[in-house]
């Protein structure tokens, strides 16, 4: 075959361009640390990468939500324990008041103490956390319980301000929602239209009136209340455990997802460097031989 100068030059330019292009590709993946930096580098992996990136962001949000729920639950837990404390103090007072040896005046003194406990319980029910009524459910913009007082400032009734309390839910997984609040209903309503405030008010009034039968009656009602707070505490504990394990699982999932992303898109340094060296050697050979080949023609020897 006839070989001409322009043919050789063209071939030299083509091969040098090819080599230089692959060198620049390798250099790019060395500086970015990525083997896939554009969709066309690996279209199959691209769609998986996009999904995985979106997954990690979503999982991160779930973990954040789980932490929020844990926080709320811990605050609610301390509120519940305060309720328990109030109830046990009231129970002591009721037991004392039910004693036949007590005088009417002694019982009046106990009634004053119970009145204090009522106010404390009201404080727990209407406490605010982070600017919102902690036990208000979805109606966190108003106090869950309101009081009615007589002319002398004595509390005569405490009623729920809400007909029903819906709890707030947060997503902690795909399609997985967990209650993020404890409603006042769960804690204070003891069923059959009775509630803890009513029990304490009845106790106070019975002590004032030295009505021993009613005092004895409130003891049973208090026991129901104490049982209820115990089970609420257990429920809160269980929920914290559930959220913890979910968030633990999400953290694991996030780690493995990130690992998968890195497997798919990170450049293998050893491989890239050795291929770079190889390509560089070829490139330099191409340059060197090109100079030797193109320069001389017969003209140099005529």
């Amino acid at each position: 075959m006839r070989v001409t100068q322009s043919g050789v030059t063209r071939k030299v330019i083509n091969t040098i361009n090819d080599r230089y292009e692959s060198l620049s590709k390798l250099q790019e993946s060395m500086t970015s640390g990525k083997s896939v930096s554009r969709p066309s580098d690996n279209p199959m992996v691209t769609s998986e990468l996009l999904q995985l990136a979106s997954d990690t962001r979503r999982i991160g949000q779930f973990v954040k939500n789980a932490q929020l729920i844990t926080q709320e639950m811990q605050t609610a837990e301390s509120a519940v324990s305060q309720v328990t404390e109030v109830l046990s103090v009231a129970r002591t007072k009721a037991l004392a008041g039910a004693n036949d040896a007590m005088s009417a005046n002694d019982r009046k003194a106990l009634a004053i103490a119970v009145d204090g406990e009522i106010k404390e319980l009201l404080g727990v029910a209407n406490q605010k956390y982070n600017g919102k009524y902690l036990l208000g459910g979805t109606k966190i913009d108003r106090p869950p319980y309101v009081i009615t007082t007589d002319g002398e400032g004595k509390i005569t009734a405490i009623t729920s301000s809400q007909d029903s309390v819906l709890t707030v839910q947060l997503a902690v997984g795909d399609g997985l929602r967990v209650d993020a609040s404890v409603g006042s209903d769960d804690l204070f309503n003891t069923g059959d239209g009775d509630n803890l405030f009513q029990v304490l008010l009845d106790l106070r009034d019975a002590l004032n009136n030295s009505d021993v039968d009613t005092i004895n009656g409130t003891l049973d009602r208090l026991s129901i209340g104490i049982d209820q707070t115990t089970s609420t505490t257990a429920m809160i504990g269980a929920r914290i455990n559930l959220v913890d394990s979910i968030s633990q699982r999400h953290s694991d999932l996030k780690t493995s997802t990130e690992q998968r992303i890195s497997e798919l898109s990170d450049a293998d340094a050893v491989e890239v460097i050795s291929r770079y060296n190889q390509e560089q050697a070829v490139y330099q050979m191409a340059l060197k031989t090109a100079v030797n080949l193109i320069q001389p023609t017969l003209v140099n020897f005529v």
């Binding site: 006839r2 322009s6 554009r38 969709p39 066309s40 279209p43 999904q51 939500n65 707030v168 997503a171």
Partner: protein, 453 residues
């Protein structure tokens, strides 16, 4: 009767022939780097024979003909593969531009903006009464809008740009067709029709680069040019192409006035540009439009049933009149006041069911007729573009390599080898020197003869 006069004539013709051959050599050397030039070869032939009754005598040498070395088959293949390679290159380049403006696998992409948008609703769900969380949702919404809008303007700009390039190229094509017709006429009017000259070769090259046109040489020396089996130049008759535009501004070639036949351009740059637009950019734009419309409909459906911080309801989050990316925007109310963003289903402040429902859209199969999630549908689009580029790069590499092979073949037929020309130069120089020496000797012989007188 042979004699000194005949010898002098022979020597003189030799001198002239060597000089003429030398001119061919210098022409070749001068054009060694001209890509349109095909090397020439001077063919020397002995002069007519004289017979004196006993013997035949030669009468020297002539440069009988200067032959241009072209192989029509190789040139045809070269044009075909070159046009193919340019076609893929054009499509590939435009896909790479779109790939860059998608900016995926980085942080600036649409998938990131979408994730941020869904996540902002989760934040609102966690703090449903907050005005700050609503401002975050508003900003994430605006971020999504601006990403979509800029993607749209990039796509549109690129499509407009392609349309303009196609128009320019059709204009150029018409000029080239006229030029070929003119050159055909010149060629036919010559006394002796010769080979295709360099100028016509150049025009043919350009024509095939634009359209993948094919050519046939007729017996009178004229070239017939065909685009997709429709003759566009026959001898001096030229059919130029008229540009028309369809409803979405795409330029296309109208039929010829005389017979209504429409040539199909199936290779070369124009085909590549058309393919980039019709097979990739427009479908991508349509799919993105559909995706955006799905987002608008689904988000609005949930949002308008919810209650906002002011207790109002029935407000759209996105503009409900959205027809696609072009007019994608937050609704006027939401853009003005983020307190109008609804989070609650039952009207209670801390209810977050609307916010939760909207953030759940991120994993709901609402795109592609309910078979994929939004982000799945979008990542399919992105990987389709990537796949398109990969395929085109492969086809372009294949076309390039056969083009290079054809070029090597073409070089070996028509290319100038400087070494070869140098050897010829020395040969003709020697020949000239020898003929000069001969003339001198003959001159001395003539002098000697005259001295006798």
């Amino acid at each position: 009767m042979p004699g000194i006069n005949g010898a002098i004539t022979s020597a003189t013709r030799a001198l002239l022939a060597q000089q003429a051959a030398m001119q061919v050599v210098s022409d070749n050397i001068a054009n060694a780097n001209n890509p349109d030039y095909a090397r020439r070869r001077g063919e020397l032939a002995s002069g007519p024979m004289l017979f004196d009754g006993n013997n035949s005598f030669g009468t020297g040498v002539d440069l009988q003909r200067v032959q241009t070395l072209r192989d029509p088959f190789v040139e045809g293949q070269l044009q075909r593969t070159g046009a193919e390679s340019l076609r893929y290159e054009q499509t590939d380049q435009h896909l790479k531009l779109i790939e860059a403006s998608l900016a995926e696998l980085g942080d600036g992409g649409l998938s990131n903006a979408l994730d941020n948008f869904w996540a902002s609703w989760q934040d609102l769900a966690a703090d449903p009464t907050s005005s700050g969380a609503r401002a975050v949702v508003q900003q994430a919404g605006l971020g999504l809008v601006s990403r979509v809008r800029s993607l749209h303007s990039n796509l549109t700009e690129q499509i407009t740009n392609i349309n303009r390039q196609v128009e320019d190229r059709i204009g150029k094509l018409n000029g080239l067709l006229q030029e070929l017709g003119r050159l055909n006429v010149q060629q036919v009017n010559r006394v002796q029709p010769g080979e295709v000259d360099d100028l016509r070769a150049h025009v043919m090259d350009e024509l095939s680069k634009l359209t993948g046109a094919t050519f046939r040489q007729q017996s009178d020396g004229s070239i017939t040019a065909m685009i997709g089996n429709v003759p566009v130049v026959e001898a001096g008759n030229v059919r130029t192409l008229t540009i028309q535009k369809d409803s979405i501004g795409r330029p296309f070639i109208g039929g010829f006035g005389d017979n209504g036949v429409v040539p199909v351009i199936d290779s070369g740059e124009i085909a590549g540009l058309n393919e980039a637009r019709d097979d990739h950019l427009l479908p991508l734009r349509d799919k993105l439009d559909a995706l955006v419309k799905t987002i608008v409909t689904e988000v609005n459906k949930i949002h308008s049933s919810g209650f906002n911080l002011n207790g109002g309801t029935g407000i759209d989050f996105f503009k409900s009149s959205t027809t696609g990316m072009i007019d994608f925007d937050l609704s006027d109310g939401i853009k003005r006041d983020h307190r109008l963003i609804a989070g609650s289903l039952d009207g209670n402040g801390a209810d977050n069911q609307i916010a939760l429902a909207i953030s759940d859209l991120s994993t709901a199969k609402i795109a592609s007729n309910g078979t994929e999630t939004i982000s799945q549908a979008y990542s399919t689009l992105v990987s389709e573009i990537g796949l398109g580029i990969q395929n085109l790069t492969m086809m372009k590499d294949a076309a390039d390599s056969s083009y290079q092979q054809m070029q090597a073949w073409h070089d070996s037929v028509s290319g100038v080898s400087v070494d070869e020309e140098m050897t010829k130069m020395m040969r003709y120089q020697n020949g000239f020197n020898a003929a000069a020496k001969l003339t001198k000797t003959l001159n001395e012989m003539m002098d000697a003869m005259l001295g006798i007188v």
